[in-house]
């Protein structure tokens, strides 16, 4: 079910600006991979190129090959919406749809892709909300607006919305940066549970978080402002945080740089 992702020489541009250059890495199924590095080093750009969200911005494009179980998602005849259904994404700031209720938010992905049957939607909503550890908090007010929840609940609602379409990979772009420690803990716990079913890739600025939740860690960095971001080191999280093989990684995680 969960898929292996292989990036080969991925280079991404914003117009004329090269944001990342020649990224090569392989993400194993049913693992949590953390992308860390200083601001502007291209972690988010790389993450967004994995489900073809990068190209949403005008002038943005990606070169190189990104394959998911051997299929190149940048092939000409690939349907973008199918890619995004397979590879879901949670954003930095919770973005529930303001005109929809909690229930409608969770099933938005299904409903907007043509699922009409109430029983299927009800079942999917409960399942997704339970997986996101939100069911008990919202089960009595599913008809209320999703924007009325607290920030942490909204973010879990967005996670529920993402996993309701049953993707195989979940990308998270700093999902906890706008949240308090308790909500952060709830979402980290959630990642442990979701790992059984999904491949998870998370961008984070919080190195303790990377060390806590991830199996593998990729460290990105830039030489100086304006240079493209590169992958410096990619290894088991334990190795990266205890005995990194590149000096730059060690400097970053010990706080001497970045």
């Amino acid at each position: 079910m969960a898929k292996r992702i292989e990036a080969a020489d991925v280079t991404a541009y914003y117009g004329g600006f090269k944001a990342i250059e020649n990224i090569n890495l392989t993400v194993e199924p049913k693992t949590v991979t953390a992308l860390i590095g200083p601001s502007g080093c291209g972690k988010s750009t790389f993450l967004r190129s994995i489900n073809r969200m990068h190209e949403v911005l005008p002038g943005a494009r990606v070169e190189g090959s990104l394959t998911i179980d051997g299929q190149d998602i940048y092939d000409r005849d690939v349907d973008v919406t199918a890619v995004r259904r397979m590879i879901g994404m949670v954003f930095q700031r919770p973005n529930p749809f303001p005109t929809m209720s909690i229930f409608e938010n969770v099933v938005a992905g299904l409903r907007l892709n043509g699922v009409r049957k109430k029983s299927i939607l009800d079942e999917a909503a409960e399942k997704a909300l339970r997986s996101a550890n939100l069911w008990d908090e919202v089960k009595d007010r599913l008809g209320k607006p999703g924007a009325g929840l607290s920030g942490g609940q909204q973010q879990r609602l967005c996670i529920a919305r993402t996993i309701a379409v049953e993707p195989q990979v979940v990308l998270m772009d700093e999902p906890c940066s706008a949240l308090d420690p308790i909500s952060t803990l709830a979402i980290e716990d959630l990642m442990f549970q979701l790992k059984d079913k999904f491949t998870i890739i998370i961008v984070t600025h919080n190195m303790q978080q990377a060390a806590r939740v991830s199996d593998r860690t990729a460290f990105f960095s830039i030489e100086k402002t304006g240079d493209p971001g590169r992958l410096i080191e990619y290894d088991n999280t334990q190795k990266i945080f205890s005995n990194p093989s590149v000096k730059k990684t060690e400097d970053y995680i010990t706080g001497r740089f970045g």
Partner: protein
């Protein structure tokens, strides 16, 4: 002396106490009353003018007096604050005054002919000596013309705005935006002339039963559409731009196609604003006189068919009755004006309620 006592407190340092002297509560009203009394004494004493001048002079005296009193007791910052607050409040009153005056004039003068006859009959066979007569034909005309114009404008306008915001890239989108801006500046008489030349004289003969060019309510609706379109496009465009990009991305990330994202996420989020823009356009169109006069021709009889023969409209009715020699005509003009304002108001409230019902208010 010790360094402590000789040390001067810099302006930025903390004041020793957080309390400051305040003007007593009764002071500002008392100053206002005093200012009015002094102003009345000056104005009537010199025999210069009436109550309006008293209020103007009184207002200026009040501002000066308030500043002086506050400056003496509370200090300069507080005095400035009070004076500017008073200025802002007077600006608000000045802005509302014309509106209140218009509503009051319409209500008081329009009430005279606010009867069933006015809403049930037309001006057909009403002579200069007949006190009755009504605006039924004009109400029907306004509703039909504005209704058709809205049906034409809203789909085109919203689709155009969606193109500009969501799909348009480069020169073509820029050109469309530019020409929409140019359209905003078209005087209504020009739009009327355009429809007269294009539709009434050239196209309408092919559709009319007589085969000759003719006025129609539909022609008026076309002219009104030309006027409404830029308003709808620009207001919708602004509203669509206000929809946060993360909402679109959230939908894309669920594998929702772009067109469905626009239809089901972007448009509902922007709906209340779009409705407001459409209502503004409708209000503008409903008040237009010149194009209706040019291409629908007006008329005294009831004509329910917007596609053939002359039609009137409320704005045109007001114009014609206000200029009519009959001594009963002005009352009809006032009531028609009241009806027009009430109509637009009711439509606006209805549209707002509809748009709100669509949002989650539970």
């Amino acid at each position: 002396m010790s360094t402590l006592t000789s040390h001067r407190r810099s302006p930025a340092a903390q004041p020793p106490t957080l309390r400051a002297k305040r003007l007593p509560k009764w002071m500002p009203p008392a100053i206002a009353l005093g200012a009015l009394l002094v102003a009345a004494a000056i104005v009537y004493g010199t025999g210069l003018g009436g109550p309006v001048l008293v209020v103007v002079v009184g207002g200026l005296l009040y501002l000066g007096g308030l500043y002086a009193a506050a400056n003496a007791v509370e200090g300069q910052r507080a005095a400035r604050n009070r004076t500017w607050s008073a200025l802002i409040h007077s600006a608000f009153v000045l802005a509302v005054l014309p509106l209140a005056s218009v509503v009051w004039t319409l209500l008081s003068r329009g009430a005279e002919r606010l009867d069933a006859d006015f809403f049930g009959t037309s001006m057909n066979n009403i002579g200069a000596r007949d006190p009755n007569g009504g605006a039924y034909h004009a109400i029907v005309g306004t509703l039909e013309q504005v209704g058709i114009a809205t049906l034409i404008t809203v789909p085109i306008g919203i689709l155009c705005a969606i193109y500009i915001v969501e799909y348009g890239r480069g020169r073509f989108a820029f050109a469309i935006r530019f020409f929409v801006d140019v359209m905003t500046g078209i005087p209504s008489i020009v739009s009327g002339l355009f429809v007269l030349a294009f539709w009434v004289l050239i196209v309408s003969p092919y559709f009319s039963s007589t085969g000759r060019p003719g006025f129609s309510g539909f022609a008026a609706a076309l002219a009104l559409s030309v006027l409404m379109l830029p308003t709808v496009v620009r207001s919708t465009e602004e509203m669509l731009r206000l929809v946060p990009a993360p909402l679109r991305e959230g939908a894309y990330a669920l594998g929702v196609p772009k067109w469905k994202t626009i239809l089901r996420v972007v448009l509902p989020t922007a709906l209340p604003g779009i409705v407001t823009g459409v209502m503004l356009a409708i209000a503008r169109a409903a008040g237009e006189t010149a194009p209706v006069l040019l291409v629908a021709g007006g008329g005294a009889a009831i004509n329910l068919n917007p596609f053939e023969n002359n039609q009137s409209s409320l704005a045109l009715f007001v114009y014609q009755q206000a200029g009519d020699a009959s001594r009963y005509a002005p009352a009809r003009a006032w009531t028609a004006a009241l009806t027009l304002v009430a109509l637009v108001l009711v439509l606006t409230i209805a549209a707002k309620l509809l748009a709100r019902r669509n949002r989650l208010g539970r």
